[in-house]
Amino acid sequence: MGSSVAAHVGHTRKNPLTTAAVYASLLAACMLLGLPFFWMVVTSLKSPHELAGYPPSWWPESLRWGNYIDAWRSAPFGRMYVNSLITGLAATALQVGLALLMAYAFAFIRFPARRFWLLLVLATMMIPDEMKLVPNYLTLSRLDWINTYWALIVPPAAHAFPVFVFYQQFRMLPSALIDAAKADGAGHGRILWRVVLPMSRPVLVAVTLVSFLGRWNDFLWPLIVTDTATMRTLPVGLAYLKKQAEEGASPWHLMMAAALFIVIPIVILYSILQKQFVEGITKGAIKG
């Protein structure tokens, strides 16, 4: 089976027309997906006058690097960077940590009504975040956590999606390995840390990246639970640049400049973890 696939792949690579078609398709897909990013960069370097130009220009008349300085000064982005990093990292760590423990329990520990509890956890995914806004706010208000890091870190930590993904991954692990570890006297913590996690590394990376991305890009929750600029995160900072419909056109060149320096850390992170991220995402697709 393996050799026939290899032979097929080898045969495909040798056909120049097929190879050209594949590369052309990939190039077209890259251009299509990269176009918004390209447009963001180009717009960030334009003058306000060029923004209204018609037809739109694909390249600025002159590169206005000063837009980045203007955008940076439009809101306390330095502080917001720090806030986004602190809350993004902490909430992700907490979310992934809790999800790992829950998924492990559901996958490997027998307890009464296990399936019911699992479904109950997964059912929370069907409740829109907007519906949880007021009850969560009331709870935080009673704890006096409004406008604190706690409000940005703790509530988002409880999320069912990572639990679901980890649970699916853990179920696919060979039970013989877990049994062998138990036979060697390993406890649950040791099994999770030494056996389950090393075998689930790509999924762990993928879930961590997706969770971090969710925290990094979140707008509504940080806006609701923070009142002052010093506690706010980067997406809320973008709102400082956006104008009302009746206020006139938003300064898109500055908004795109700000969007770019918000996106850059994610691009770097993804570049570093790309291989494991793709492996983690596709693993479920291959193994069902």
Partner: protein, 432 residues
């Protein structure tokens, strides 16, 4: 664990209070007559110059009242701010004074989130509104109370391409809505194969400008207590039919937001006229290239000039303590004092809506363009009924899109919208 969490929360809160006292307790002057320790928070929207100018006004208030302090906090767009207010009100938190758009006044007032300002307006430190333009004082009136006072007032402004007017043999802006429709056709330029090079008109993708058009032609969409909703008013049917014809002919376009909207169409010379507000002023006069822009008031209709104002105002929240209420009211009076309104008009482009503030704005009105903008003030009809009811607003917005984007039958669409609005309003009124 919970105790520790609570203790931590208290520590944080105490920390904030301590920092507050250390930071502001020592400074001061003798002028303030406001109760000491009655500091309040002011939530605002609007970014850029309009936001900075508010912060400056807050700083001026704090200088004048050293025994107390107003803290200004930006909370995003009008809708973001409204969502925050609603959430915070449920927890009895939030600011004492807020800027508020026109959409939520009624809903918040009926829900008990806002304070009735009428007793304060008629009290010893009351407010003289005799010099206010148009019917602005009526803007925040709900059930006999006043829950909102105008602050950043926007007025309708027609911008036009003077060169295109000259080329089309038009000597000046349209005086009537009939002229307006006729000019839109005359200004439309076509090239090869009848392709439109410049439309006479680019429509704004919101219904606000239409209110002035309908009202000045004698049309009504609803009365203030929603007992007579008439989205299918014959005037509305006639005017929307006219606009739809213009769109079909290519004499009017409805550019979407993603393409820069009506303003980008005007600035790039793709449209000769836009119905906008004074907010577009600096954009139009700094970014228009290749033609000479000019402005005028909206045209008059069968009922003369009747204009719908826009913008936002100020309100006091019900969670305010009596001590804070005194400061809150003093703060509102400061914000809408002639000097503040004049300063805000100069910095932000919103209008000086009181007689005294226009006098204080003096130099601003020396510019004939600003003088023209301010000429709209006496004709303002401060009736936000359409905005204040989601049922009416949404039904009319949807009908507007269907008629102008999907080319739907005007009468049938407005009839359906009217029926839907009437049913939904009943639910709204019951809910209140």
């Amino acid at each position: 664990m919970i105790n520790r969490i609570c203790a931590f929360g208290q520590d944080v809160a105490l920390g904030f209070c301590f920092s507050f006292l250390v930071a502001f307790g020592g400074c001061g002057g003798p002028q303030s007559s406001l109760p000491s320790g009655s500091g309040i928070t002011y939530w605002r929207t609007l970014s850029g110059a309009a936001g900075d100018a508010q912060d400056t006004l807050v700083a001026r208030f704090n200088e004048q009242h050293p025994d107390t302090k107003v803290t200004s906090e930006f909370q995003g767009s009008y809708s973001d701010l409204a969502t925050k207010l609603l959430t915070a009100a449920a927890a009895r938190r939030g600011p004492q004074v807020t800027q508020l758009g026109t959409f939520e006044i009624r809903q918040f007032a009926k829900s008990g989130v806002l304070v009735d300002l009428k007793p304060l307006m008629n009290g010893p430190n009351g407010l003289d509104t005799s010099g206010w333009s148009g019917t602005l004082i009526a803007a925040g009136e709900i059930d006999g109370g006043v829950y909102w006072l105008p602050f950043n007032v926007a007025v309708p402004v027609l911008y036009y391409n003077q060169d295109a007017f000259t080329d089309a043999g038009l000597s000046g802006p349209p005086e009537t809505w009939a002229d307006f429709f006729s000019y839109a056709r005359k200004l439309t330029r076509r090239g090869d194969k009848d392709a439109v090079q410049m439309s006479g008109l680019a429509l704004w993708n919101i219904t606000w400008p239409l209110l002035s058009m309908f009202w000045s032609e004698g049309g009504e969409l609803t009365n203030r207590d929603y007992t007579n909703i008439t989205l299918n008013d014959p005037v509305a049917v006639r005017l929307l039919t006219e606009l739809q014809s213009l769109v079909r002919e290519g004499a009017a376009t409805l550019p979407d937001k993603a393409s820069g909207g009506h303003r980008a169409a005007f600035l790039s010379g793709r449209a000769a006229m836009i119905l906008d507000s004074q907010d577009a002023f600096s954009e139009v006069f700094t970014q228009a290239t290749g033609f000479t822009p000019a402005l005028a008031n909206y045209p008059a209709g069968a009922k003369g000039k009747v204009y719908a104002p826009g913008g936002g105002g100020l309100a006091i929240l019900a969670n305010t303590t009596p001590k804070q209420r005194e400061t809150a009211w003093a703060f509102i009076r400061h914000m809408i004092s002639p000097e503040s309104i004049a300063y805000y008009a100069r910095e932000s482009g919103y209008v000086a809506f009181t007689e005294e503030s226009r006098r204080a704005a003096g130099d601003l009105l020396q510019d004939p363009r600003h003088a023209t903008i301010h000429e709209a003030l006496p004709f303002l009809r401060a009736d936000y009924s359409v905005n204040m009811s989601p049922a009416v607003r949404n039904a009319f917005d949807e009908a507007f899109q269907k008629i102008l984007v999907q080319n739907a039958d005007v009468q049938a669409t407005l009839d359906a919208a009217d029926t839907r609005a009437e049913a939904a309003v009943k639910e709204e009124l019951t809910a209140h």
